[in-house]
C-alpha cells in the first residue's frame, strides 16, 4: 500500500536482507503516516493507540473506584451519559451491578491486551528494537503493518461491544465458562475481539524473532545485544508459543456460544431455573487450563519488556555497565521457559489433587528465583554509579521496589495452603497490579521519557515530568497498597460493593482510601498529557544522542531517524554498555564507529 515502485538502494552487508526491504523512497501522506510499513511509524501508531486505550481502561477504573467508595451513588460528570449503554441507572446515574461487571471485564481486557502489551511490544519493540540492532526495518514490514491493523480492529470490536445487546462482556477478563458461555451477546464480541488481538500478536512475534535473528548489524553478536532487545526476543517466543492455545480456546468458546458445541459445558446445567440447551460432555476446567497456559506467560510478556526498558535506562543513567549482563540474559530466558509450567497455580481452588499442586507449587517457587536475581542485578548496578536523576531514571528506579512488592506478594499466592485464604481476594488484585501498574506501566513511562527525543527530536519537560512522577508513584501506592490488607482480611474480589459483608465493612475505610489514591493518580496524569503533546511541538530541541548513550539508536541514527534509519551502516565494535571506560575521553563509548553523524 505504500506504493509499488520498490527500488533497491543496494546498500547493506546483511546477507539475509529480504528483497522487500530495500525500498527507502519517501511515500505519500497516506503511505507515510497511515498505511505505513515503516517500523517507526507503526511503532508510533501502536504507542498512541495503546496510550488511548490505557486512558480508556483507566477511566473505567475511576468509575469502579467511585462506586466502591460511594456504593449506589451517581457517578460524577458522566453518570447520566453512561446510562445509554446500560452501565449506569437511567434515573440515579449510579453504576449498575451489570455495569460494574462490564467495566471489570473490559478494564482487565483493555489494560492487558489493548494497552500494556501493544505499548510494550508493538510500540517500544517496534520502534526501538530495529534501531538498536542496526536494521533498516523489520524483516517483514507488511506483516508488521498488518499486525497493527488487526490489533486496531480487535480494539474496535472490543469497544463496539458496549453497544451490543445487553452490553459488553461481563464474565471477567478470564471469561470462565459456563458463565461466559451463558452470557449475553457482548461475550461473543469479546471472543471475536480476542481472536483478532491474538492474531495480531502472533504476526508480530514471528516478525520480531526473524528480525533479531537475521537483521543485526555487522559485528552485533547476540552477546552484544542491548538487554532491551534480549527482553523483546524472549517475549516474542512467549507470544508465539503461548497464544495459540488461547486462540484455539477462544474459537472453541465461540463455537459453544454460536454453533451449539459443548467443549466447556458439562451435562445437566440448569441456569435461571431452566435446563440449558447444551448437550454436555465438556469440561469447564479445560478452558481454565487453556486460558492460564497463555495467561501466565502473558505476565512475563508484560514484565519482560518493562525490565528491558529499565535495564537500558539504568545503564545510561548510572554511567556504568549493567551489572551481571550475562546473568540477566540467562535469567530472562529461564523465566520465559519456566513461565510455561506454572499455569495451574491459578487453579489451586478447582479441586486439584495434592500431587499436581505440589508440582505447580515447586515450579512457582523456582520461577521466583530468576526474578530475585534480575532485581538484585539491577540494584547492584547502582553500586559505584554516578546517578543522574532525570525523569526517565526516576521512573526506572521506582520500578525496582514496586516490582519487588509485586513479585514478593506472589509467594503466598503461589503456595496452595496459604492460597486457600488469599485466593480470589483483594490480595490477588494488589499483587498483580503491583506487577503491572507500579511495575510495568511505571517502566513504560520511563521508556516514553527516554526515547521521546529520539522519536520527535525534542525533549519532554523535566519539570512536568517530575510533576507527573511523584503523584503517579504516590497515587499508585495509595490505590494498590491497601488491597493487600483488604485481601488478607478476606474480602473477595469482583464485588459491586463489599459493604454488605462483615469483613467488607471492617475494611471499607481502606477502599475509600484507595479511591482517593485513584483521584490523585488521575490528576497526576494531566502533566503527562500536557507534556507529551506540548513537547512534540514546543519541546527543547534534542541532540541526536540526547542522553549520551552507547546503543545504536542514539549513536548511529538521527533524531528522528529517516526512512531507512541510518545514514551509514553501523558496524558494531563493542558491547552495549561501555560507560565510564577507564582512559576513555568521554564517559561513554558508542557501540559503533560511525558515531554522531
Amino acid at each position: 500500500m505504500s506504493g509499488g515502485h520498490h527500488h533497491d538502494h543496494g546498500s547493506g552487508h546483511h546477507g539475509h536482507e529480504p528483497a522487500l526491504h530495500g525500498h527507502h523512497h519517501e511515500p505519500g501522506f497516506i503511505g507515510k503516516y497511515i498505511f505505513s510499513v515503516d517500523h517507526k511509524v507503526i511503532g508510533v501508531q501502536y504507542t498512541v493507540t495503546a496510550l488511548v486505550f490505557l486512558l480508556v481502561g483507566f477511566t473505567m477504573m475511576l468509575i469502579m473506584r467511585w462506586q466502591l467508595a460511594r456504593p449506589g451513588e451517581a457517578v460524577p460528570l458522566i453518570g447520566s451519559l453512561l446510562s445509554q449503554l446500560g452501565i449506569t441507572h437511567a434515573q440515579t446515574g449510579a453504576l449498575t451491578n451489570e455495569g460494574y461487571n462490564m467495566l471489570g471485564a473490559m478494564h482487565g481486557t483493555i489494560m492487558v491486551f489493548l494497552g500494556v502489551v501493544p505499548l510494550a511490544v508493538g510500540g517500544f519493540g517496534n520502534y526501538v528494537m530495529p534501531l538498536q540492532i542496526g536494521a533498516k526495518d523489520m524483516a517483514f514490514p507488511k506483516l508488521n503493518m498488518m499486525s497493527y491493523w488487526v490489533y486496531l480492529s480487535g480494539g474496535i470490536v472490543m469497544m463496539a461491544s458496549f453497544w451490543a445487546n445487553g452490553g459488553a462482556a461481563q464474565s471477567g477478563w478470564t471469561s470462565y465458562p459456563p458463565l461466559a458461555n451463558t452470557a449475553l451477546s457482548g461475550q461473543t464480541w469479546w471472543l471475536v475481539g480476542m481472536v483478532l488481538l491474538i492474531t495480531s500478536s502472533l504476526l508480530g512475534s514471528v516478525n520480531f524473532i526473524v528480525t533479531i535473528m537475521h537483521l543485526r548489524a555487522k559485528g552485533l553478536s547476540m552477546w552484544r545485544l542491548p538487554f532491551f532487545v534480549w527482553a523483546q526476543f524472549v517475549t516474542a517466543f512467549l507470544l508465539l508459543l503461548a497464544f495459540p492455545p488461547l486462540e484455539a480456546a477462544g474459537v472453541m468458546q465461540l463455537m459453544d456460544r454460536v454453533a451449539g458445541t459443548s467443549f466447556f459445558m458439562p451435562e445437566g446445567l440448569i441456569v435461571g431455573d431452566k435446563p440449558t440447551e447444551w448437550t454436555g460432555g465438556g469440561s469447564p476446567l479445560l478452558w481454565q487450563h487453556l486460558f492460564w497456559f497463555l495467561a501466565h506467560p502473558e505476565v512475563y510478556v508484560l514484565i519482560l519488556p518493562a525490565m528491558g526498558i529499565v535495564g537500558e535506562i539504568i545503564a545510561n543513567n548510572t554511567r556504568k555497565p549493567l551489572w551481571g549482563y550475562t546473568t540477566l540474559v540467562y535469567s530472562i530466558i529461564f523465566l520465559g521457559f519456566m513461565s510455561f509450567i506454572v499455569w495451574a497455580h491459578h487453579m489451586y481452588m478447582t479441586g486439584m489433587g495434592t500431587a499436581l499442586s505440589t508440582f505447580f507449587q515447586a515450579t512457582t517457587m523456582i520461577i521466583s528465583v530468576p526474578s530475585v536475581i534480575i532485581l538484585t542485578c539491577f540494584i547492584i548496578s547502582l553500586y559505584g554509579a554516578r546517578i543522574r536523576y532525570n525523569t526517565p531514571m526516576l521512573f526506572a528506579l521506582a520500578f525496582l521496589p514496586m516490582f519487588a512488592i509485586g513479585g514478593l506478594t506472589g509467594l503466598p499466592l503461589g503456595l496452595a495452603a496459604s492460597d486457600i485464604h488469599l485466593h480470589d481476594t483483594y490480595y490477588v488484585i494488589g499483587h498483580f497490579h503491583y506487577v503491572v501498574a507500579p511495575g510495568t506501566i511505571i517502566a513504560l513511562f520511563a521508556g516514553i521519557y527516554y526515547w521521546f527525543p529520539k522519536v520527535t527530536g525534542r525533549r519532554m519537560s523535566e519539570f512536568l515530568g517530575k510533576l507527573h512522577f511523584w503523584p503517579t508513584l504516590i497515587g499508585m501506592n495509595m490505590v494498590f497498597g491497601p488491597m493487600f490488607f483488604v485481601g488478607i482480611v478476606g474480602v473477595q474480589r469482583r464485588l459491586w460493593t463489599q459493604t454488605d459483608y462483615q469483613l467488607g465493612q471492617l475494611t471499607q475505610y481502606w477502599v475509600v482510601f484507595s479511591s482517593v489514591g485513584a483521584a490523585v493518580l488521575g490528576l497526576g496524569q494531566i502533566p503527562f498529557i500536557l507534556n507529551f503533546f506540548g513537547s512534540i511541538f514546543a519541546g527543547r530541541k534534542a541532540a541526536q544522542n540526547a542522553w549520551e548513550a552507547t546503543t545504536l539508536e542514539w549513536v548511529a541514527a538521527p533524531s528522528p531517524p529517516p526512512h531507512g534509519n541510518f545514514l551509514a551502516d553501523p558496524v558494531v565494535v563493542c558491547g552495549p554498555y561501555e560507560y565510564s571506560v577507564p582512559g576513555s575521553p568521554k564517559d561513554y563509548c558508542p557501540q559503533c564507529q560511525t558515531s554522531e553523524a
Binding site: 451513588e73 461487571n101 458439562p266 445437566g268 505440589t358 538484585t376 553500586y383 454488605d500
Partner: protein, 336 residues
C-alpha cells in the same frame, strides 16, 4: 471522613474458628516475615546507593564489575528459605488437610451444598443419614424444589432437609461438605473457617474441617460488637446504613420516653435515623446477625456481590435439637 472515624478496623487475618486454620495462618505470617526481611534488605542497599552515588557526589562511575559475593549469598538464602517454606510448611500443611479426610469412626457430619446463581442450597440428609438423589429433571425453584429431590418416589429423600443460604453446623465434630453447582462455577469460601473450594458444575468436590470446640455463633457475635454513630440531622445516613447492614442491635434502643426505637435483635436502618436523632441518641451498639459468612469468591454473574450465605455454629446438643426440629418440620423450605 465520618466513615473513617467510625471504623473499628481489622488489619490482618480475621479470627479463625477452625482446627486446621492456624497452620495456614502460620504459613501466611512466616512468608510475610520473609518478604519483609528481603524487601528491607534490598531497600536499605537501594536507598544507600541512591544517596551515596548521586551524580554530584561521585565524580567517576565504577567500570569494573564489583565482586558481589553478598548477592550470591542472598540468592542462595532465598532459595533455601523458599525450599523450607515449601517442604516444611506448604506441602505438609496441604497434604495433612487435603489427604486426610475424617474417618467414619470420627462420626463426621456430612452435608451437601449446591450453588446456583445467586444462592447456596444446603442439603442435609435428615434423620436417616441418607441423601436423596438429586434429579436435574425435577429441579424447580418455582415449585420449591431447588435440588430436584423426589420426595414421593425416593425413600432417602423423604426426610431430607433443604435450606437456603444458612448452613447450620455443630462445633467440635468433623464436617464434610460436598460441593457442586447447578449452573456456573462458584467458590465456597468461609474466611473465618479458612475454607475455600470452587464449586464446579458436573463435579462433586468435598471439603472437610472441624470447628473449634467451645465456640458458637452467639459467642462470636459477642466479640464483634461495635459502636455506630447516628448521623446528625441533615447528613446523609449512608455510613450509618452501611454499618448496620446485616447487623442487629445488641440491646433495646429506647427513646427518652421509654419507647423502643430499635428492638434487640433487629437491624437498624435508615428509617430509624430520625427517631434516633429526636431521642438525642448519638451512638448505638450493634453486632453481626451471623458473624461467620459464606462468600462466593468466583465471579458468577450479575448479582455475584449478593451471593452471601452464613454458617451458623452451634454447640452439639443445640445443633441436635435444631436438627430434630427441622426434620419434624418435614419438607418445609427454610427461609431466612
Amino acid at each position: 471522613m465520618s466513615l473513617l472515624a467510625q471504623t473499628q478496623p481489622m488489619y490482618w487475618l480475621p479470627p479463625d474458628y477452625s482446627t486446621h486454620g492456624w497452620q495456614i495462618d502460620q504459613l501466611i505470617n512466616w512468608i510475610h516475615v520473609f518478604m519483609a526481611v528481603l524487601f528491607a534488605g534490598w531497600g536499605v542497599f537501594f536507598a544507600r546507593c541512591l544517596v551515596k552515588y548521586r551524580y554530584r557526589a561521585n565524580p567517576t562511575a565504577l567500570y569494573e564489575p564489583i565482586k558481589a559475593k553478598a548477592s550470591k549469598v542472598i540468592e542462595a538464602a532465598v532459595v533455601v528459605i523458599e525450599v523450607v517454606l515449601l517442604v516444611a510448611f506448604a506441602i505438609p500443611v496441604l497434604a495433612e488437610y487435603k489427604n486426610d479426610p475424617p474417618k467414619p469412626e470420627d462420626n463426621p457430619f456430612e452435608v451437601h451444598v449446591v450453588a446456583q446463581q445467586f444462592a447456596w442450597n444446603i442439603h442435609y440428609p435428615g434423620p436417616d443419614g441418607k441423601f436423596g438423589k438429586r434429579n436435574a429433571k425435577l429441579v424447580s425453584d418455582a415449585n420449591g424444589n431447588p435440588l430436584g429431590l423426589d420426595r414421593d418416589g425416593d425413600p432417602d429423600a423423604k426426610d431430607d432437609i433443604v435450606a437456603n443460604n444458612e448452613l447450620h453446623l455443630p462445633v467440635g465434630r468433623p464436617v464434610i461438605v460436598k460441593l457442586t453447582s447447578k449452573d456456573v462455577i462458584h467458590s465456597f469460601s468461609v474466611p473465618m473457617l479458612r475454607v475455600k473450594q470452587d464449586t464446579v458444575p458436573g463435579m462433586e468436590i468435598p471439603v472437610w474441617f472441624t470447628v473449634k470446640e467451645g465456640t458458637s455463633s452467639d459467642a462470636i457475635r459477642e466479640t464483634m460488637i461495635r459502636t455506630v454513630s447516628v448521623p446528625p440531622a441533615g447528613q446523609n445516613p449512608r455510613d450509618f446504613v452501611m454499618w448496620c447492614t446485616n447487623n442487629i442491635a445488641v440491646e433495646d434502643i429506647k427513646g427518652a420516653d421509654g419507647t423502643v426505637i430499635v428492638g434487640k435483635g433487629r437491624e437498624p436502618s435508615a428509617e430509624h435515623v430520625e427517631a434516633l436523632q429526636k431521642a438525642g441518641i448519638g451512638e448505638i451498639r450493634v453486632a453481626p446477625r451471623h458473624p461467620v459468612e459464606i462468600h462466593c469468591t468466583q465471579l458468577c454473574g450479575i448479582t455475584h456481590y449478593k451471593m452471601r450465605g452464613f454458617v451458623i455454629l452451634m454447640p452439639p446438643d443445640e445443633f441436635e435439637a435444631w436438627y430434630a426440629e427441622q426434620a419434624a418440620g418435614g419438607d418445609e423450605f427454610i427461609e431466612e
